[in-house]
Subunit: 195 residues, 2 copies
Amino acid sequence: MTNSEPAPAEGKRDRLIRSAAELLYRRGVDSPTLADIAHDADVPTGNVYYYFKTRDELVEAVIDARADEVRQLLASLDRRSSPRARLKGLARAWAANEDDIATSGCPIGTLCSELNKRDRGLDQRAATLLSTVADWVEDQIRQLGRSDARELAITLLATVQGAAVLASSLSDPKIMTSQIRRLERWIDTLSAGDT
Amino acid sequence: MTNSEPAPAEGKRDRLIRSAAELLYRRGVDSPTLADIAHDADVPTGNVYYYFKTRDELVEAVIDARADEVRQLLASLDRRSSPRARLKGLARAWAANEDDIATSGCPIGTLCSELNKRDRGLDQRAATLLSTVADWVEDQIRQLGRSDARELAITLLATVQGAAVLASSLSDPKIMTSQIRRLERWIDTLSAGDT
DNA sequence: GTCTATAAGGCGATAGAC
DNA sequence: GTCTATCGCCTTATAGAC
């Protein structure tokens, strides 16, 4: 590897991953063909195999790209001053994506659900996305002094995942809006003590 | 139609629907082939087309079969004496399926989520399953004297759908158990008044 | 390194024998 | 009515030209 240029090969590889992430999110993990993805990324169809040995390897790259997004989001939230502010920041991040979520569900939740049914080991790699967020939320709630932080973290995540399933299936964006608002009020009530 | 026999043709059709329902639940809506389904139902592969014109028509029959299940469950719960007892009966029904849900998610929720991404009109038909339950829950909560019954019904359903996504994705049945328990306590606290 | 042409296999669907 | 044989298409993946 020389020190010169921005690696045009990387450009195409990244475009393939971005197009794949978007198409798999909108139309499901298995439905989009490599031709669909390559066309969207402006890459010749057969040439996908120069960058990825199999289709699953491209799916894996999409999972890893989502993992990067999650890490970046949580890192930005970590700069906030209090655990409550960090949790609320997470809620606002979801709120900012309400429309997409109401249309196609949670990018992470639907990915995990679908891979869970067409298992090839990819499902476990995808599950890491959810547990990363769960662990982070648990950590914030524990900092609020709650001993039942794990269950509360799961409760918080379940609310969002469930709202995403309902809002997208029933085509009703207001479900996301109202459930996130309820979540923010719930975060306000969180304080030391159990149940 | 004569009055004589249990209709052997019906037997095969029903077996195809049952096998399809199970396989689509376990492995996703698109993944199982007609050969897989026919084999599981002990019906010759090509013969599926005597009963269903297209694969989608079989999927539609699966949705309708789920709708029957839902109607029967809600009808049996309607025999209970109070709205609170009916809601708790629903929670117990979910608890009884905890293991399946922790393995493959909610049969209705995952069906709706997947069809939402491979749209052919089937998604709207499937969404009826969710809204039927939502409407019923809303009705029960309203009978408890709550004016915010719709939002509370969505909250209840979101909890279960979210728990199903998390439990199946993270392969942790305890998530379903604890969230259903929390739901039952929450039902106990429901009474007249808002928020 | 990049891309085209094509192979190999599996799928939904059909035609028609029984 | 029931089933078999098979078609034609689409998809992933490869071989090899440029």
